[in-house]
Amino acid sequence: MQAFTTLSAIAAPLPMINVDTDMIIPKQFLRTIKRTGLGVNLFDEMRYDEQGNEKPDFVLNKPEYRNAEILVAGENFGCGSSREHAPWAILDFGLRCVIAPSYADIFYNNCFKNGILPVQLPQEQVDRIMEYAQTTPESKVHIDLEYQIVKLDNNESFSFEIDPFRKHCLINGLDDIGLTLEKDKSIQSFEDDRAQNQPWL
């Protein structure tokens, strides 16, 4: 997994609440057996018309936001299906960070497994960053995970909370499975106990 430390990038504003994973990547793109290649279909139904032409007013189709690496959105981002294709599509498009007031659990979790940082900030602060992204699209947003800070070009800054274990894994690009396998002895003895006490399992 790619580590996440700092990022200075253009932020694309998507002022919608309840953006669900069906919107992020519709089901017809879930038939893949790979993790990559989903970026062109990110937000497919909002991004393209029925003939497959780009809709010019969708934020990621506007020239000033095409190279965005940060997405700013409304509350309950990523609700709905558990599909990890959603963060895969986000990452494949080139976005490394989402900023929103709240997230759906599974999506939030999936981000960390893919080197994407989901920043959670109070509504007023997200509103402020949204406005900044809308009014000065050329300005960058700066993120420092180590110090848990989001900064704007005018030096306005917002600090965010993050679980220390998740932060550690993200900063170091650590693979969970490798970490868990180090605890193999504990897993084994847990299984032995269960076989004793709950033989029906």
Binding site: R31, P87, F165, S186, I187, F190, R194
Partner: protein
């Protein structure tokens, strides 16, 4: 005496393999793992690349459901990428030694229908699946939640998951429900009340007389849609109804083990005085048959009600989202719900594709005809549901009434196979999500109970099931 504990706390503490005291993060043991074709290929690929094995293949069961055709199976899967995905699952199961119900196995069906049906889902277990509706299995008093593909790989390799404990909420439905009110109406009312993010960070335990009165099928419907309220999992305390459902199922404990299991299961319900982080009480008598009007499951109105007006929204962002939903749904504020014409009806999904749902539809369909302008499909949740329905003669009632009786799978719940809505088509659906495009690009979904969907099929518009009952 020890502290009173909730059902959730008991299951959680019984599965901790390791706890990091500083952060509270736990390594949690997983008893059962369900796998389907859409969210697993990348996980198996990951194992292969790292040279890892599946730690406990016998704790895992796989089935193809999302992509499968619901018409004649002997023709195979036409769509190439769908076929490859299903074949890949078969091959992966063979390579890693996992039990797999193939397309022509009569036990094949939607992953959340077959787990309980086989008796694989049991009280007190931890159960995961790469699918958000894993919450369904909470109906048995099992802690069951959806995970992403990276976690699927983690569970395959280690039989554990890394997680922090959730907050614990109890929703009590007090008293008895009125006529025409089903489990679906209960859960839609709950989501209408708490909102789609109301449960975020929580595991919700459902309690109260109206919940206890439900059959296992009804309890599964309620827990299924817990994820639509944003919660990590739903739970219902196991009781005699649960044990009766499980007894004798192929994967349920047998003989002496059955007695031991029941003894343990009986110790699981929350202790008196156990503390919840949040409590909500709803009066059962306030719940009426309802439908959704918009593009979020929280957009719930009574079937006797009207399309709401964005002018009454609580703030600007809610108003914008209501306006967008009304435009997408092709509805105008103030319109009577019962005046909304429909084009299609979909009965099925992991929410309402079980035998009891089939019976509820048959009760309304019997002696009636599907309206002329409507195409209505019934997709049983599994091959065994289909078989049972046919044994009871329900298929004849459906066909006689003009319904299309199909093969099991996810079908038009998410329209990954050939079953879908065309742009602008409006559907009365028993599934769980009315998101934009969920049942086909531009398709318009109204969620409701199976009985209400059957009533809509017959009237050709959204209808009150109580008009069909005496």
């Amino acid at each position: 005496m020890s502290q009173p504990r909730t059902l959730f706390e008991k299951i959680w503490s019984d599965h901790i393999v390791h706890k990091d005291e500083a952060s509270g993060t736990c390594l949690l043991y997983i008893d059962r793992h369900l796998v389907h074709e859409v969210t697993s290929p990348q996980a198996f690929e990951g194992l292969r690349l790292a040279g890892r094995k599946v730690r406990k293949p016998e704790a895992t069961l796989a089935v193809a459901d999302h992509n499968v055709p619901t018409s004649d199976r002997s023709l195979g899967i036409k769509q190439e990428d769908s076929r490859i995905q299903v074949e890949t699952l078969g091959k992966n199961c063979e390579e890693f030694g996992i039990q797999y119900f193939g397309l022509n196995d009569k036990r094949q069906g939607i992953v959340h229908i077959i787990g309980p049906e086989q008796g694989m889902t049991q009280p007190g277990m931890t159960i995961v699946c790469g699918d958000s509706h894993t919450s369904t299995h909470g109906a048995f008093g099992a802690l069951a939640f959806g995970i992403g593909t990276s976690e699927v790989e983690h569970v395959l390799a280690t039989q554990t998951i890394i997680q922090k404990p959730a907050n614990n909420m109890r929703i009590t439905i007090k008293g008895k429900t009125g006529p025409g009110v089903t489990a679906k109406d209960i859960v839609l009312s709950i989501i209408g009340e708490i909102g789609t993010a109301g449960g975020t960070g929580y595991v919700i335990e459902y309690a109260g007389e109206a919940i206890q009165d439900l059959t296992m099928e009804g309890r599964m419907t309620v827990c299924n849609m817990t994820i639509e309220g944003g919660a990590r999992a739903g739970l219902i305390a196991p009781d005699q109804t649960t044990f009766d459902y499980l007894k004798g199922r192929p994967m349920a404990p047998k003989g002496e083990n059955w007695d031991k299991a029941v003894e343990y299961w009986s110790s699981l319900p929350s202790d008196d005085g156990a503390r919840y982080d949040k409590e909500i009480v709803i009066e059962a008598k306030d719940i009426v048959p309802n439908v959704t009007w918009g593009t979020s499951p929280e957009n719930v109105v009574p079937i006797t009600g009207n399309v709401p007006d964005p002018a009454n929204a609580k703030d600007a962002s809610q108003r914008a989202s209501m306006e967008r939903a009304l435009e997408y749904m092709g509805l105008t504020a103030g319109m009577r719900m019962q005046d909304v014409d429909i084009d299609k009806v979909f009965i099925g999904s992991c929410t309402n594709g079980r035998i009891e749902d089939m019976r509820a539809v048959a009760a309304i369909a019997k002696g009636n005809k599907v309206a002329e302008n409507v195409y209505a499909m019934i997709v049983p949740g599994s091959g065994l549901v289909k078989e049972q329905a046919e044994e009871e003669g329900l298929d004849k009632i459906f066909i006689e009434a003009g319904f299309d009786w199909r093969e099991p799978g996810c079908s038009m719940c998410l329209a990954m196979n050939a079953d879908r809505l065309e742009p602008g088509e409006r559907c009365a659906s028993t599934s769980n999500r009315n998101f934009e495009g969920r049942q086909g690009r531009g398709g318009r979904t109204h969620l409701m109970s199976p009985a209400m969907a059957a009533a809509a099929a017959i009237k050709g518009k959204l209808a009150d099931v109580r008009d069909f009952q005496d």
